[in-house]
Symmetry: C2
Subunit: 226 residues, 2 copies
């Protein structure tokens, strides 16, 4: 961390933070589409044009919020994990933490895992924080070796190649089939959470807590975690 030296830099850091804070506040009330730079400026008592000294565009503000949200979610998941606990329990803890964070911050969750923002493509900085959850899950899977998979199935050669490439790139000692299952279960976790947050379980599994616990337990079975 670089120390903040001048008063100007100090003020800048503070204002940047206040802008994001107010933006998050508005986000939590109406969603990203309703987030307006002018409204943020108004709430902070500054000219709308002054905001652009801090964020060159609305998309840049959103990107900053996305980054913070990824890290908040990652923090929540990692904080909930107990590395000394049995892998199955760790898995359940991490899943529950993801769900809790998502339901507590639905609009920020939507920013991360909902429809990507209009014209914009995820900048490289967001890639790394975006992988924190699955990296943690991979660790849990490694801690649970050898896995007791209830059934197995062949991988197409292309999938086998992809999984070997991705485990190697991540420096993980996972078999291709474990990696494929991990990706499956990862998308399943966010499918479940997304459906709950976006209201798809209304009138069926509502509230979704019991289904969520059942599902994460079955996912642990599927992964072969004990």
């Amino acid at each position: 961390m670089n120390a903040i030296r001048t008063a100007r830099e100090r003020a800048r850091a503070e204002l940047t933070h206040e802008i994001k804070q107010e933006a998050r506040r508005q986000l939590s009330e109406a969603g990203s589409a309703q987030l307006s730079l002018r409204a943020v400026a108004r709430a902070l008592g500054m000219a709308s044009s002054a905001i652009y000294r801090y964020f060159p565009s609305r998309d840049e503000l959103l990107t900053a919020l996305i980054l913070d949200a990824y890290n908040a979610l990652g923090d929540a998941a990692e904080k909930a994990d107990r590395p000394q606990a049995p892998p199955r329990e760790r898995w359940m803890l991490v899943c529950a933490a993801v769900r809790e964070w998502a339901t507590a911050h639905p609009h920020e969750y939507a920013l991360l895992y909902g429809t990507p923002v209009p014209g914009y493509e995820a900048p490289a900085e967001t890639v790394d924080p975006g992988t924190r959850i699955i990296r943690r899950c991979a660790e849990i899977l490694l801690a649970g070796q050898p896995l007791r998979r209830p059934f197995t199935g062949p991988l197409e050669p292309e999938l086998d190649d992809q999984m070997r490439a991705v485990t190697e790139a991540a420096g993980l000692d996972l078999s291709p089939e474990d990696a494929a299952r991990l990706l499956m279960v990862w998308s399943q976790l966010f499918g479940l959470v997304g459906f709950e947050v976006f209201g798809q379980f209304a009138n069926s599994a509502d509230p979704a807590g019991p289904l969520f616990r059942y599902a994460t337990a079955r996912m642990a079975d599927f992964l072969g975690l004990r």
Copy 2:
């Protein structure tokens, strides 16, 4: 179907269709946030205010598009299904059809399963078409009875109640555990498809076809489909 009698009604039906067509075109280029009534009007060579004779607001237009999209997706899935085939094959066919439609119409898919549109809440008309996929999956599950589930787990009483209520309301003869698994697998399907469409599998399972086929096969195993 009511026959269209007067020239005016005929013209109205046609223009309504053209507006939606043009809106879909713009949607497919830039996403729902960029969809502009004025731009649609411009493309159709009419005054922006005239659009409001057909759709009283932007949200109503979007709702109409959502309805059409749900039905297009439902059609695709039902058309792909072969009711005489073995349940496991039917399951794979339906899953593949959902994926194909979604990747072919990513922005419309986002309209259905991405972040819900800002202030708006799904009107009652969209609920029914939105359940076509899972209803079809439920049928397949019924056709596959008795299922050979590889492992099983207890349902919390609340989940058991919810599942009994939902199967009764839908008139389906599914056990609570089958229903819970169906909801799980349903959300998993859309989790997978959503991750692919929204680019979450970039740099890991990209293209996602092999992973998708592996995952749907394991889901069939999980459901106990033969």
